[in-house]
Symmetry: C3
Subunit: 242 residues, 3 copies
C-alpha cells in the first residue's frame, strides 16, 4: 500500500498525476490519500501528523510525503525505513518525528534520476516513481545508504504544544502525544480536563481528549472547536501534567 | 462494491483510514466515496440522501453510513439488509428512509467487537471492518438478527419539505421525492413549475426539476440556487401538488 | 486508464456515480479524477487544461470530459481520438485545444443510447459508460465516424492570455504555452521575467515560470499569487515576447 501525505489539496491535477506516476512505475496495489491537506508549506504539522497516522498502517507501507516549499532547490531526495515502514520525500525536516520515535531507522539518498525532471513537481517526477519501485521490492538499486546523522534534523520540542491541524468538523489536533500524567489542556482561558469522548460533555461544550490516533485533540461536542476558541494551526496550547 | 456515506469531509485522514480498514479485513473490490460531505451531524439529510442515491447501485453493495454525533455513547452498531443492499452504521435514525421505502428488510445487531475500539472513530474500528466482511460474504457470524421494531425510528413526515443538501454548483436538493401530482415548488416568494432540465429556462433563471436520482431539486441555469434564493440546508420549501 | 475532467467538485455523489457507471460497463482498470474542479461551466478553462494535462498520460487513455452547461439540450455527444488518446464529452468546444494541437485526429458521434437517460446527468448515463467500453476496446460499434469539420469549433486566440485556473496553493495557471521567445509576463502593474522555479525568487516574491505541464504559471514563493495580485479565473495577463 502506498499512501500520499501532501499539502497539494484534493482539488487540481496533482494527486491524479502522482497516482499515474505510481502506475507507470509498475505498482498495482492500493494508493490512498492519507492527507492531501497538510497545512500549506507546514513541515512541522506534516512531521507530527505523518508520525501519528503512519502507526495505523502495517509494515511494508510506503508513505510519499511531499510538503516541499524548497522544491527545485538543492535539498536531497530522501528515503527512510523506520520500523518497517518506508517514507520518501524531501530532506527538509518532514521525517523529524518519525526519526525520533522509531526504534529502528535506516536512511537512504535517492540516487535514481528520472529521464524527465521538472523544476516544480518532484512528487510526480521523483517521489511517486521511487515509492512504486520500493513498494514492488525493487528500490535497493535506486537508493544509496547514508548516515542517519546526515539527515536534516530540526530542534523542535519533543511535544509540540500547538495546533497542528484542524479537521472538517473543526476539531483541533495538537502535537502533544498521549502520555502518563497528561490530565488536560489550557486553551483560550479555559481549562479542559481530559475526557474519553465527545458524549462525555454536554452538546455545545468543549472537550479535550486523546484522539483515535493517540494525540491530544480539542473539540466541541456537535460543534466546532476552531470557531469556539477562535484558534488556527500554529496557535499555542498548554498541556496540564499531574 | 463498498460505498462510504459520511460527514467526514474529503480532506483529512478519515476516509483513507476507513479504506485501509476495509483492506485489512480482506475485501479487495472497489471502495467509493458516495458522499463524504453529508451536512455535518445531520442525520435527516443523511437518511434522505442515502435512500435516494443507494438506488443507483446494484444489490450486494454495502453502504458504510457514518453520521454519528453520538459516537462513543451507547447507541447500537447496526446492519440493515434492505432490498438486497446492505447498510451498516450507528442506530440513530440514519436508515429511517431506507426502512420506510424498502419492500424487504432485515435488521441485525453487530455483535463483533474489534480488538482495538477507539472512543471516537467507529467508522474505522467497527463499520468499515464489518462492511468488508459482509461484502466478502462472511458477515453472518458477526451479526445477530434483531426485530425490525427494535431499530431506532424517527417520526419525520414522509416527504421532507426542506433543503437536505447543496451541491458544488449551488443546486439545492430537497427531501421531496418524485410522485404523481407534484407540479412545482414555492420557495423564497417565487413559484417554480416543474421543468425537465436546466436548458428549459433562460440562463440565470431558477428552476425546479426532478434530479437524476428522483428527488426535487432547485437550481439556477448556469448559476447558483443557494445564492439566488439565499437558502441553506434545513430551510423549508413548499411543494405544489395538482 | 480512464480519467475524469469535470466541474462536478470532489464533494457530492457525482464522481462516485460515474465511477460506478464505468464498473457497470465492465472496465476494471484505474479511474482517476484528473480535475474535478474545472472552474464551473468554464469550457475555455477546461479546453486549455485538458490539452495541457492529457500529455502527461500515455496513448490509450480515455478522458471523460464533462463541463456541460447545456446538458439536456440538443448538443451532440462526442468522442475524439487524438494522437492515440480518447476524449469523450459534449460537443460544446471542450476539445478545441486538443483538436488544434494534435497531429492526428478522428471524430465520432456517440450513437449508443442508454436504456435510462436522465435529463441532467449525461456524465453518468452516457459518457462514463462509453468511456468504459472504449477503454475495453469495444467502442467501435457504438460510435459513428463524423467529419472533423462538423465538430463544434470556437475561435479563441491560439494562446489564451488569461488565468484559466487557480490551484490549492494560489498558483494561477494561464492559457499561454511555453514557446521560444516567451520571456515573461505583465500582470497587475508588475513585470515578471520567466524564472525556473519558486526558489529562484525570495520568499514572498512573485514569479512567472513554465509549470510542470508546460504552461505559463504565476506564483508567489511560499505565498499565494491569487491574493498577492487579487486575480481570479478569466482575468487577463500580458505575455512578453523577445
Amino acid at each position: 500500500m502506498i499512501l500520499f501525505v501532501t499539502d497539494f489539496g484534493n482539488d487540481g491535477p496533482y494527486i491524479a498525476q502522482m497516482k499515474a506516476a505510481v502506475r507507470r512505475n509498475g505498482y498495482r496495489g492500493d494508493i490512498l490519500n492519507l492527507f492531501s491537506d497538510i497545512p500549506t508549506y507546514n513541515i512541522r504539522s506534516a512531521s507530527v501528523l505523518l508520525n501519528a497516522y503512519a502507526h495505523d498502517f502495517p509494515e511494508g507501507c510506503v508513505f510519499v510525503s511531499v510538503v516541499d516549499p524548497g522544491v527545485g532547490s538543492n535539498r536531497l531526495p530522501l528515503a527512510i525505513l523506520a520500523d518497517g515502514r518506508w517514507y520518501v520525500g524531501p530532506d527538509n525536516g518532514l521525517f523529524e518525528l518519525v526519526l525520533r520515535r522509531a526504534t529502528h531507522v535506516e536512511a537512504f539518498k535517492i540516487s535514481w534520476q528520472p529521464a524527465r525532471l521538472s523544476a516544480s513537481f518532484h512528487g510526480r517526477d521523483v517521489f511517486a516513481p521511487i515509492a512504486a519501485r520500493i513498494a514492488r521490492g525493487q528500490g535497493a538499486s535506486l537508493l544509496t545508504p547514508m548516515s542517519i546523522h546526515d539527515v536534516h534534523r530540526v530542534d523542535w520540542p519533543d511535544d509540540l504544544s500547538e495546533i497542528v491541524y484542524v479537521d472538517h468538523f473543526g476539531n483541533a489536533m495538537t502535537g502533544i502525544e498521549n502520555a502518563p500524567g497528561l490530565s488536560g489542556v489550557k486553551i483560550g482561558g479555559e481549562t479542559l480536563p481530559l475526557v474519553r469522548t465527545f458524549s462525555d460533555v454536554e452538546e455545545g461544550a468543549p472537550l479535550a481528549y486523546i484522539n483515535a490516533n493517540g494525540i491530544l485533540e480539542i473539540s466541541v461536542n456537535q460543534g466546532r472547536a476552531d470557531t469556539y476558541f477562535g484558534i488556527e494551526v500554529g496557535d499555542a496550547v498548554t498541556p496540564i501534567w499531574d
